[in-house]
Amino acid sequence: MLSRLVLVSASALKSSGPLGAGLVQASRSLQTSSQSLAPLPPLPEKGGKVRHGIFPEELFQLLYPKTGVTGPYMLGTGLIVYMLSKEIYVINHETFAAASILAVMVYGVKKFGPKVAAFADKINEDKEAKAQEVKDAAIESLTQAIEDEKKEQWRAEGRYMLFDAKRNNVAMQLEINYRERLHMVTHEVKRRLDYQIALQNLQRRLEQEHMVNWVEKSVISSITPQQEKESIAKCITDLKALAKVTQAKAAL
């Protein structure tokens, strides 16, 4: 804290004219800490080690070479006994109040200390986790984008197959169209030829019928009435003869 004060005052002094520069140079011997501000050293993670909550471990280390392990405890006991016996510290009602508040504080620290420490750690961890989450989400989305890009590239490699398939499709359609038209042409031609055949057949039939009719007519017209009577008489005599034969056969 004091080094910061010195730095601030140093910059203020430097800007205050010729006398200021002299004062800065003169006070430079008092500035003992290194003045570089970057990179900042990391904060210590835990506070200094203490024994029994208030006595720093360094005190015990300091006294160890001369007085051993029990040194600081003897020092404490001796101090207390000295103050009590010389009545530098008089036991009065405040002592009891002090004992009470001490008991409350010790109880509080023992019971809630770890919880509070975990809570304080959690605050920092949550902050860190949030930032980490943002970073992870960004990395995740970028990785996903890379994979999607690779997939698209792989898909794009198959474009020749696609072109071939499309080309085949078009060729097939052209072929189909051509064949349809060919079929239509043959069909039409066949229809016309069939018509001609039917026409010829009809012509021949009509001619035949006409000829038959003409022959019949001429034959019928050529039969004179005389011939007709003769043929009928002959038919009757033939029938009679036949009748006689059959009657004879039947009688037999």
Binding site: L43, H93, E94, A98, I101, I123
Partner: protein
């Protein structure tokens, strides 16, 4: 000279130096400055979280114009909590047991809210003098009563804090004296008195924090009414 129990509340002057100045300023050293680092140590981050959560909670009902008061209210809260809690240590002096100091904190802040309310929205501020739905014949009496209650607010704020802390300290002293006196005579009774003292100390810790909180909360309420 005879020591009476009220001497603990006399403002200590040592060799002409009023030590109340030290008592008022030194608790500031207990609160570390938040550093420029992103992640700080346990104490700083707990303190920061406590202050920000408390500010948010306190200023929730106050509209945006009242957010200007955030800094003074929170610093007042931390000031009072630290003074009260440090006063529970033996042989310490609690500045908040001095009525002069509490009135000195309460009156200007209360007066500021009243003046702001009457200046910016006088009708709204005066309308607080008459609660809704009072029968007509009670109105004159009620206005007088509400005005008296308004004037009494700073007195109430100051005296509440003073009385609570003074009474608490006196009780601790008395019961501790009882335990001390009973110890050679009836040790068992002294033991029970010590247990009583233990619970009283717990109560006093709670009272110390609650009284500071109530002080600041009431000020925020007066602010909310008038802003």
């Amino acid at each position: 000279m005879m020591l009476n129990y009220f001497d603990q509340f006399a403002s200590p002057i040592f060799l002409g130096v009023p030590l109340i100045a030290l008592a008022l300023t030194l608790p500031w050293l207990l609160f570390p400055t938040p550093s420029t680092r992103w992640l700080s140590n346990r104490l700083t981050s707990t303190q920061g979280m406590f202050i920000s959560t408390f500010t948010q909670q306190l200023l929730l009902p106050v509209n945006k114009g009242g957010h200007k008061w955030a800094l003074i209210l929170i610093s007042l809260m931390i000031f009072l909590v630290s003074l009260n809690m440090l006063g529970l240590m033996p042989y310490t002096f609690t500045p908040t047991t001095q009525l002069s100091m509490n009135l000195g904190l309460a009156t200007p802040l209360w007066l500021a809210t009243v003046i702001m309310g009457l200046h910016n929205q006088p009708t709204h501020a005066l309308s607080h003098l008459l609660p809704e739905g009072t029968p007509t014949f009670l109105i004159p009496i009620l206005i007088i009563i509400e005005t008296i209650s308004l004037i009494i607010r700073p007195l109430a704020l100051g005296v509440r804090l003073t009385a609570n802390l003074t009474a608490g300290h006196l009780l601790i002293q008395l019961i501790a004296t009882a335990a001390l006196v009973l110890l050679p005579l009836m040790p068992t009774v002294a033991f029970f008195t010590m247990i009583l003292l233990f619970f009283l100390t717990l109560l006093e810790i709670a009272v110390a924090m609650i009284q500071a909180y109530v002080f600041v909360l009431l000020l925020s309420l007066y602010l909310q009414e008038n802003i």
